[in-house]
């Protein structure tokens, strides 16, 4: 059941169907690491009882199933964060309370059905998890789903649940959104509470939703907004809900928005088919508004700063496990964590100072523009196990390079919607980038593209 659909079967029926589908089809995809049947059915019964009693406050997401990346605390489960280390840690205890985001979605009526696979400790873009197996792309099961929130992208693309939660430090929502062909939102840094989620790089980490429509994305986003004392990085801002601002005619709602497409790095580091999704979106938008070309300042410098900060903050966070449990850590990322732990402090200090200059230069772009467009990934989903990708005749290591186009944007802490563009072949998404705290602008453009039929996130054909 989608929150946007008018039909409202009983929540218990809806959750039973959802659980049956996950049980039957997920072994092909490997999106879920835990399914919470009893919790979900109890919750569904409560929603049905509230409806039967005529309670007006069942919420905009009443009865809607959702699932979360397994770095969110779920009461009663050990928070894995994709690792074997957390599962086997001596004295490892299940989380006592849910993450703030889960609590808020459930307050809106949504029903948690499970936890989802990811790259260990969120350090990766492929969800080729050695401990729990790779999550496979529902559009082509031989290919990766992207990462690090790969289970979150795949579970929506396969039609298991209409909404999932992931995290995005350097692209971990936008990359799987793009490769799996679903909508994703990375909000402004500090907008949504990370309370009760396992950190990776606290100066870059954000949480956000995945969905098959912009409307569903917005319902989840609005439900999770608000300050939270559990997350010291969560801004003390009032809630700024977006649902009402979308309106019933998103195309006419484009009036007044100043839109640009990014050249330079965002074209040079993308294959022609990735650049073509921007061409498609721009051609459609230009029927309603003007779109000009914009050069993003120092994209490579931004990526370098994010790379250094991630490696060194991440390495420091996991130092004790690097000392004592190295062999139990993910072979794809443990040497990167170790290198980060060994790196001189001067490197991260320099990166943080360069980042401040970089953010000032990027923010200046929004004096003349409201929204900027770029591809989300350089290539379509590689095959599981591929070590290399090719961009314009040059080979790049696949695991770090899937974030070539997302890292410069998140280094500036900006809100971005990943909008999958309709095309023949495997999915690729567009990044719709807005000024800090203007998620509404990015969501308005994504909704217009969806209304025009240019962006869409159908269930993958093999699972439809």
């Amino acid at each position: 059941m989608s929150p946007s659909s008018d039909a409202a079967p009983s929540a218990v029926e809806s959750i039973r169907a959802c659980l049956e589908r996950i049980g039957r089809l997920d072994p092909q995809v490997n999106a879920f690491t835990a399914v919470l049947a009893e919790r979900a059915l109890n919750r569904a019964a409560a929603v049905d009882a509230a409806r039967a009693a005529g309670e007006a406050s069942v919420g905009p997401l009443a009865g809607v199933p959702f699932a979360v990346k397994n770095l969110f605390d779920v009461a009663g489960l050990v928070t894995l964060a994709g690792s074997r280390v957390e599962r086997e840690r001596p004295g490892a205890a299940p989380a006592a309370v849910d993450a703030t985001a889960i609590t808020r979605l459930e307050a809106a009526g949504a029903i948690l059905v499970g936890a989802l696979n990811m790259d260990e400790y969120a350090y990766g873009f492929t969800t080729e998890n050695t401990h729990y197996g790779p999550t496979r792309n529902p559009h082509d099961l031989t290919r990766i789903a992207g990462g690090s929130s790969g289970g979150s992208g795949a579970a929506v693309a396969a039609g298991f649940v209409p909404i999932t939660l992931g995290t995005d430090t350097n692209g971990s929502i936008r990359v799987p959104s793009s490769l799996c062909g679903v909508f994703g939102l990375r909000p402004t840094f500090g907008r949504l509470s990370r309370g009760g989620s396992f950190p990776f790089v606290s100066s870059l980490d954000t949480i956000g939703p995945f969905a098959r429509s912009v409307r569903d994305l917005v319902l989840a986003y609005d439900a999770m907004q608000g300050a939270d004392a559990r997350d010291p990085g969560c801004a003390q801002r009032p809630r700024e809900p977006v649902a009402a601002a979308l309106g019933h005619d998103p195309v006419s709602n484009l009036d007044g928005l100043r839109i640009g497409r990014l050249g330079g790095w965002f074209e040079d580091m993308a294959t022609p088919e990735a650049v073509a999704v921007v061409d498609t979106a721009v051609a459609a938008l230009m029927q309603a508004v003007a779109v000009d070309r914009v050069e993003w300042p120092d994209a490579e410098i931004g990526r370098c700063a994010a790379f250094i900060v991630s490696a060194i903050e991440g390495g420091a966070l996991h130092l004790d496990d690097l000392r004592h449990r190295y062999d139990a850590m993910e072979p794809h990322s443990r040497a990167r964590f170790m290198a980060g732990a060994l790196a001189p402090a001067a490197w991260v200090h320099r990166a943080q100072r360069v980042r401040r200059l970089y953010v000032e230069r990027v923010d200046a772009l929004f004096a003349d523009h409201d929204v900027l467009l770029a591809p989300a990934v350089p290539v379509v989903a590689p095959t599981v196990g591929d070590d290399w990708i090719e961009i314009r005749g040059r080979r790049y290591p696949s695991r770090p390079s899937m974030g070539l186009l997302t890292q410069p944007v998140s280094c500036a802490g900006l809100p971005v919607v990943a909008a999958p563009i309709v095309r023949a072949g495997l999915p690729i998404a567009l990044q719709v980038i807005a000024a800090p705290w203007r998620e509404d602008h990015a969501l308005r453009v994504a909704a217009a593209l969806e209304q025009m039929g240019v962006a869409a996130a159908p269930v993958a054909a093999a699972f439809a």
């Binding site: 250094i308 443990r334 990167r336 290198a339 060994l342 790196a343 320099r350 100072r353 980042r355």
Partner: protein, 62 residues
Amino acid sequence: MEREAIVAWVRAGAAVLGLPAATATAHEAEVVANLERLAAIAETLEAVEVDPSVEPLTVFVR
């Protein structure tokens, strides 16, 4: 940065951080390769002109 310098740094760093010698030896090559990559990136950032008055951007949200 010279590869020999990175190798020496990794060996010394592993000792300073208390990484077991067997682990450090077994995985030295991949750690060195990753640290070399970080060193190259750090060099790019060193080339950026930054006034001494520019403070590091770290998390401080009220």
